[in-house]
Symmetry: C2
Subunit: 466 residues, 2 copies
């Protein structure tokens, strides 16, 4: 896409010369996220200072009918931040303020705040922001809101949407609004806050976020349980809940996931018996160590009904960090090993063994191997489909059929396509599996109301046929 020179001049007038970039290196840098190996450079990159500048940019884009793609830390896994049609790449990186409101247990954040930095700022005041995506060290809170990110603690504490109280948003018309109020309860008009969460930068550009915080927990217990049968690991998940326990994390890793993670991380060592097929990483948290030990014991009673190897308790902070590092790195480790496609399947948690078995059967049918891991406590299984030595032709033509069958399976189990990564660019043509044409058209009409010229992050979420 060629941007008219007069528009570039006007953009420069808005953000200042130092915050507008036309060079190929910068454009390429902002042209990719963590989705496979795509790169779609924006035609121009701008870095506005505040909501007022964002609003001016958006108005200009409407005048010239040029796409605007909001860009955060580019850690996304569905291509939401890719400038697939070129246009303006709007990096929100300068909007990075953090205010912790201790009196109300809230925080007011710029969208560019790194999730882990926010968590730590809250902890320093004795407060707790639970959502914990694996990329928390590099992803931004704005991206978390745009994709409704989840992570390991969602099983007990919910996902990003459960913490967002209010959003300052620049609408695609340039108007700046607060979507709601800074309150825990709100029954005042349509919930535009929740409509905005997970809308993947297609309905507005988030410029401020008011988050709910909790008092921090002081203790946790972390255990790693090796299962000789992968499906039994999945079965144990629902059994733990039925025993009345709500763990703060309940993570599943197939054998390959842990092996690849261990190979990727020099710093972590762990001996795993050859016959072990999968692990559950289980955490309970709270303020009373005795209670946590009692809960860990109850969990032991549950998992001992299955065929397991010796359970590893993480005794020190270092051991806990090592196990979490191993879990968090699996995605990256798989990626470093092979070309792959990552699917973000989610089902009601009791259906997890059926899903896992189905994924393997479908893989056999279409000739692909998959490495599965994820947030088993909430039925969210990441399925990494490995190219390995597969021919390009098979990869392009057969694998998508298999992915379609996997999604058809999730939907038949009352699940859906994406638990926490979003639909973005790479999953959009599977949306017909989850929704009727009329349903998709209804969503698309909402998009059109917000964005009549379709300038904001076009070509995302909706299938090409809608």
């Amino acid at each position: 896409m060629i941007i008219p020179q007069e528009m570039i001049v006007q953009l420069e007038n808005i953000v200042g010369q130092s915050f507008l970039f036309l060079d190929m290196a910068t454009r390429t840098h902002y042209g990719h996220d963590e989705t496979e190996d795509y790169n779609f450079p924006p035609s121009v990159v701008v870095k506005p200072a505040d909501a007022a500048q964002v609003s001016e940019i958006i108005k200009l884009a409407n005048t010239y009918k040029v796409p605007v793609v909001p860009i955060g830390a580019r850690t996304g896994l569905s291509g939401g931040a890719l400038s697939i049609n070129g246009g303006i790449g709007l990096s929100i990186e300068r909007l990075n303020s953090i205010t912790i409101d201790e009196k109300n247990l809230q925080a007011i954040l710029g969208p560019a705040v790194i999730t882990q930095e926010f968590q730590e700022a809250a902890l320093n005041k004795g407060l707790f922001y639970p959502p914990d995506p694996s990329s928390r060290g590099s992803c931004t809170i704005g991206g978390n809101v745009a994709e409704n990110a989840g992570g390991a603690r969602a099983v007990k504490y919910g996902v990003t949407k459960d913490y967002v109280l209010n959003l300052e948003v620049v609408l695609p018309t340039g108007e700046i609004i607060w979507t709601g109020a800074n309150t825990l309860k709100n029954s005042t008009g349509y919930n535009l806050t929740q409509l905005m969460v997970g809308s993947e930068g297609t309905l507005g550009i988030i410029t401020k976020i008011v988050m709910k915080l909790l008092p921090k927990n002081t203790h946790n217990v972390l255990m790693l349980v090796p299962f000789f049968k992968a499906e039994q690991a999945c079965e144990a998940v629902a059994a733990i809940f039925r025993a009345g326990i709500v763990p703060s994390a309940l993570e599943f890793m197939e054998r390959d996931a842990i092996d690849w993670g261990l190979r990727f991380l020099d710093s972590v060592s762990l001996t795993v018996k050859d016959e072990v097929q999968a692990h559950l990483l289980i955490e309970v948290d709270g303020n009373y160590p005795d209670v946590l030990f009692a809960e860990a014991e109850k969990i032991m009673e549950v998992v001992e009904h299955f065929v397991i190897d010796e359970v590893l308790y993480a005794d020190t902070e270092d051991q806990k960090n090592a196990l979490w590092k191993l879990r968090r790195v699996v995605g990256e480790a798989v990626k470093s090993n092979s070309i792959y496609k990552e699917e973000d399947t989610v089902v009601p948690r009791y259906e997890l063994p059926t899903l896992l078995k189905g994924v393997k059967t479908i893989g056999d049918k279409y000739g692909f191997k998959s490495v599965c891991y994820g947030h088993a406590g909430d039925g969210n299984l990441h399925v990494n489909i490995i190219k390995g030595t597969m021919s390009d032709e098979m990869w392009e033509n057969e694998v998508p059929k298999g992915i379609r069958e996997i999604f058809e399976l999730t939907v038949s189990l009352k699940g859906t396509l994406s638990g926490e990564h979003g639909i973005g660019y790479v999953q959009k043509n599977y949306m017909d599996i989850a929704f009727s044409t009329q349903h998709l058209q209804l969503m698309k009409s909402i998009k059109t109301i917000f964005d009549p010229n379709n300038i904001l992050n076009p070509g995302k979420i909706f299938p090409d046929s809608i």
Copy 2:
């Protein structure tokens, strides 16, 4: 509104003769809720058996451009279920099935299920549905979803929206959709589930609800703390959270609220010193009595920093039930005492003392008395404005000015108009205080997409000027 006879015949063909009512007694019965003393009888009452019949009714209403108002248990406090333009009163009372899915910790409910009956059905399976509106014995879960009901436990467990996973909805076009999936995580397209929650029956008719459940708690501790200064009771609220405690309920009652409640309830007795201005009713819950006693002790340490009378611990289930009965009955007690208007103000919890003080000052200015009580833990203060001996002229002309000032105050404190009752009919002309005209027009455009003929619950939420 006169409904054409041929349309009545067609309605009868859909629901059957026994489920269509034209007599004045039935229409009057379905013409009111608990909002002041309004009665707007629908022109005809129908009681469909299932979503398919609801869909047929909606299609017919579109053909004849006749309003349809979904009606639940008529316990609403903002007039959402009033047939203000006549038309079809669509009672959902036959859609009352309950299925508890123990394996997934979920429930599938018809909208007519009484909230308390659902809570009890869950408890019987060892599961817990926390949202607990004061009217739980008579309100329906469908109404709770439509208004995003909250109640006393929201402070720890969230409101209705935090439990709704998926909704079967008949859209105003007659199409039947599931809004999402039965999963704890979902990042698949726009969140129509959350858009539907709190939309007060204006975007669709909910015919099935999938709710998340938690494992049940086995224990709780309940204490009643009498304060000699009402504002100190409000101040104590934020202090309890800052001490790291998240109570399962933290309720505020002004002196009048408790006195009127006691007079209304013969079965409960309680001696309150003359000088006591307000009470906090505080509950902590969990599975470990020792932990709860420790938390109650921490709460004691906090409240002892204020000027309080002796704290009452409820030692038995009967005492607990009596205190909760007293708290739940306050609204009804005030209503039985005088003509009144109930406002459902909500602010960030630390602002509660400022709100309470402001309400009293505004009352003095406009010459009205108010009885205040509510869910202080989440900043949700019910302000009951009492007519008493005030002239009708003052009541009609001066009091609304005072209400407007109260709402202006809540918004200036980053709060909003309604925490849990909804906007419905009686608050709609205050919406300009919380939202700009463009913001309201954006919401109204969403309404128009869903409901191009404006047949579904027209005249609610939006100010007459929009």
